[in-house]
Assembly symmetry: C2
Amino acid sequence: MTVPRPETIAAWTALQTASRVLLERVEGALKAAGLPPLAWYDALLEIERAGADGIRPFALKERLLLPQYGMSRLLDRIAAAGLIEKRNCAEDGRGLLVRITPAGRRARRSMWPIYGAELARQFETVFSGEELECLARLLWKAKSGVSG
Amino acid sequence: MTVPRPETIAAWTALQTASRVLLERVEGALKAAGLPPLAWYDALLEIERAGADGIRPFALKERLLLPQYGMSRLLDRIAAAGLIEKRNCAEDGRGLLVRITPAGRRARRSMWPIYGAELARQFETVFSGEELECLARLLWKAKSGVSG
DNA sequence: ATGATGTCGATGCAATTGCATTCACCTTGG
DNA sequence: CCAAGGTGAATGCAATTGCATCGACATCAT
């Protein structure tokens, strides 16, 4: 069992710090605009992409990296706000199909200008296109990493 | 404000995903070993570094990027476990000084082999030293970014 | 068919987090 | 000194998260 090198610690610390700081800025921008949290955006986007057929919660939870109960409750809240609807699944009696509603579409669209602008602000005033690609490539590798 | 370029979205997505996946692996390793969560390690490390004088919660919260109430409660829990002790601050009647206890030192030390090994595993089997440095440099810049 | 096993989703309960407020004390300007 | 305003820390209460479990249905092997 070896101990990490200093560069590893630096990369890990920078990763956690940057991720949290930027996330906070993005969430802050949404909240300041009176909009729902980021998780709602991600969920709405995936659900919207799934189209009229809807999507199953178990599929959604894998894309959004949420635990099963987390997904279940997130969908509860979004549905309670009228942004999605849950329907019984014909092919599998255990399951649901989740679809976006018109209000859900509007909500997602109203979030994007704020969200997107904040992303552009955080990344594009700081990095060149090459740097962005390099960053994305390295981070992707980190995620896929050992087990990938 | 404009909408972000595709590279920006890729970098942002990769950042959030990588950060969460790796964090989960590290927390998982600690939990699997029956050890306290990562936040305890970070806090214990800073408190231990502060030495016999102790450190003030308001200073700690800035290093660990926690909100004031989050820090207050984290310290409550760590103190309840006997790993730190809180003392009144002589120079400022409002404040505390937090010091590590022998048990706290032992706890931190017992976490490091697991934590460090997991870091080494996640980063050093995937990246070269140069990649690690590049990653750290870019991430640091991202954090400092717009406002820094 | 049927019983064993596996998967999907919900939920009770405990722990944690977020928000707003409070209390105590410090600092500063008269 | 005193009032006004600022800062350090705690906390009541609501919302969210984590954990374990459950109920319903599907699947698979016999």
